[in-house]
Symmetry: C2
Subunit: 329 residues, 2 copies
C-alpha cells in the first residue's frame, strides 16, 4: 500500500505547497533556526553511546580526534555490543585507516584482515563477540515498525518521497528508510547510508562482519548499501579527519603496498563513559520530534534565505542532517 496519510503534527505544513500556506514564510536559514531552538528541544547523548577515536597527529603535528555516536536500539545492537567490547579490550588501538575510496568510504581496521594488500597475520579477536548470522542480520537491520499506526512524513511533496524505500522519516535523531503496509503502518525501518554514517565492513554473505572493521561514508549517500550492511552510528565531530585523507590507488581505494605510509594510525578508541569525567565529551542532538526540527526540515526543503532564487520544494533524507552540538564543559 502506498496511500499515505500525514500525522497531525508540526510536520503537517510540509505537505502543503508553499503557495497554499497562510502562515508567514520562514525566511531564516536552516542554521539560524537551529541556533534559535529552545534548550528543551535538545536531547543529551549518553556517554555510553559515544566513541572517542584518536588518530595520529597530522603532518603539521595537529591532533586529530573523531567522535562517533553509536546507534540506539532497535538497530544493529549485536554489532554495537561488539564495538564497545573491541574498544574496552583496547583491540582498536594500533589499527589503521586502510582504505579511502573517493565518493564512497573511508575504512579502518586491522591492516592484515580483509585487505587485498595485507602482508602479515591478522590480529586475534577478543573473547565475547556476538556472531550475527544472515537471518539475524536481515532481521536486525530491518527492525520492525513502532506500535503507532501513523508516520510523520518529512517530504514536502507527498508523492515524491525516497528512491530507496517506500518513504523516509526520522526517529529519535536518526534518518530511517521505511516499508509501509496497510494505511500508514510502518512494517520495517532501517537506518540510511547518509554522509558520515558509520557501518560494519564485511565479506560476502553469509559473513555479516564483527565490528572489527568500520567505515564511514565520505561522498554521495550510497543508499544501495541500506539493508545490506549494518549501520552502527555516525561521526558527530572530526569528520574532516576521515574525509580529507589521501585516496588509495589500489582496488576499491585500498592503499597499495607502496602507499603503506599513507595509512593513518589509530592510536586509541575509547567509550566516552570509561574516560575520567573531566575528559568526557558531551553532545546533544536536536530532537527530531521537536517543532524546531520540523521548521528546520521545512526550511531546508524550501530555502527562502537571501541566497536562493528558486526553492526546491523538496529535499532528500540525507540533506536534512540532524543537528548535533558539543556542550561546553
Amino acid at each position: 500500500m502506498r496511500t499515505l496519510l500525514l500525522a497531525a503534527t508540526a510536520a503537517f505544513a510540509l505537505a502543503l505547497p508553499a503557495s497554499a500556506q497562510e502562515e508567514p514564510k520562514e525566511a531564516r536559514a536552516p542554521s539560524e533556526i537551529v541556533a534559535a531552538a529552545p534548550a528543551a528541544d535538545w536531547v543529551a547523548i549518553p556517554a555510553e553511546d559515544l566513541l572517542v577515536m584518536t588518530l595520529a597527529p597530522d603532518a603539521d603535528g595537529s591532533p586529530r580526534q573523531v567522535v562517533i555516536q553509536l546507534m540506539p536500539a532497535p538497530f544493529s545492537q549485536g554489532w554495537v555490543h561488539n564495538i564497545r567490547l573491541f574498544a574496552r579490550a583496547g583491540w582498536y588501538d594500533g589499527i589503521s585507516v586502510n582504505r579511502v575510496q573517493d565518493n564512497y568510504v573511508t575504512q579502518w581496521g586491522d591492516p592484515n584482515y580483509d585487505n587485498p594488500e595485507a602482508t602479515g597475520t591478522p590480529k586475534p579477536l577478543p573473547e565475547g563477540l556476538k556472531v550475527m548470522g544472515e537471518a539475524e542480520y536481515i532481521d536486525v537491520i530491518r527492525a520492525a515498525g513502532p506500535d503507532e499506526d501513523t508516520i510523520t512524513l518529512w517530504h514536502p511533496k507527498p508523492d515524491l518521497l525516497d528512491s530507496y524505500a517506500d518513504s523516509a522519516t526520522f526517529d529519535k535523531g536518526w534518518p530511517l528508510g521505511i516499508e509501509i503496509g496497510e494505511g500508514t503502518r510502518v512494517l520495517r525501518r532501517w537506518p540510511t547510508h547518509c554522509y558520515g554514517m558509520v557501518g560494519v565492513g564485511r565479506n560476502y554473505s553469509p559473513d555479516t562482519g564483527s565490528g572489527a572493521e568500520l567505515y564511514t561514508v565520505i561522498g554521495h549517500a550510497p543508499r544501495h548499501l541500506d539493508r545490506n550492511i549494518a549501520l552502527v552510528g555516525r561521526v558527530i565531530e572530526g569528520m574532516q579527519h576521515l574525509s580529507s585523507l589521501p585516496r588509495g590507488s589500489g582496488a576499491l581505494g585500498f592503499y597499495t603496498a607502496e602507499e603503506s605510509a599513507k595509512r593513518t594510525p589509530i592510536l586509541s578508541v575509547r567509550v566516552a563513559s570509561d574516560l575520567a569525567p573531566s575528559e568526557q565529551p558531551s553532545f546533544e542532538y536536536l530532537s527530531t520530534e521537536s517543532g524546531a526540527f520540523a521548521t528546520y526540515a521545512e526550511a531546508i526543503a524550501n530555502r527562502r534565505d537571501p541566497f536562493f532564487i528558486a526553492p526546491a520544494g523538496g529535499a532528500d533524507i540525507c540533506n536534512i542532517r540532524v543537528p548535533v552540538r558539543r556542550v561546553a564543559e
Copy 2:
C-alpha cells in the same frame, strides 16, 4: 500534470518490478556492464570541451592534474564562454583553492575576490566577458525542453522519482532534473548538483557570477542549489586532488588568514584544444541513449552482484554516474 508515460525504449524494463520481468536477471556488477559495452556506445568528448587544470604538486612532490568537461548547449553557455575566455587569457594561472567545506564544495578563484579572508586587491577581469543578468540566468539555467513529447524515465519505481524535481533523466551524457507539463511534455530541464559537478560561484542575486570563481561538489549532492547557481561542467579525472584537500576552518570552509599556506596554488588552466596534439587528453562517455547505459542504470537500481542481499529497487540520479573513460593515446 504528474501522469507519466514511459517512452518505448530500452529503459522501459526499468519501470517493471524485478519480479514481473521474464528476462534473466542481470547479475553483473555495474562496472562489468560498462567494461563490456560495445565501442559504438562510447561518445568522444570534443577537446574544446575539456579543461586541463594543473595544481601545484602535493607535499610529496607528486603532480596533480584535474580534467573538467564543460557542459554543452543548451546549458549555461554564457558562463562556459567566459570560462574558455578566462583560460585563454591565462587569467586562472596563479589563483588558488580558497575554500574547502566538508560535505559541500571545494572552491577556487582569486583569493582576493569574494573571500571573507581577502587582504589584497582583486585581480582585474579580462575583456570580453559576457555578463548574465538574473532574467537570463533563470532562463539559461532552466532550459526549455526538447521537441519530443516523451521522456525516458530512469527510475525503476515510477512513483518514486526525485525529491528536487518532477523527475530526473539523462540527456547526451548529463544528469538533468525536469519539470513536466501535460502528458509527458518536458517544460524545463536543468543539470543537477551531483558529486564532482562544477558550478559558478556568485554573490547574492542579482549577481550571477562570471566564471572567475568555480567550485565542485565534494559531498552529498546539494541539489537545493539546482536552478540557483549555474552548473558548467564536471570533473572527469583527478577529482581526488580536490576532494581530499584540508578543510578550511573559517566561515563556509574558507581558509583563515592563519591557514593561508593551505591554499593550493593553481598553476594553469588550459582548454585542451589549445594544447599541442601530443599533449591533448582524449575522453569518451558512455552514451546515455545506449542500451548499455540502460542496462547499467537498471543494475545500479537492482544490485544482484554477489555482495548484495537486498537490492534497493531504485536509485537516485546522482548515484547513476555517467561512465567516462580516458582514451589511450
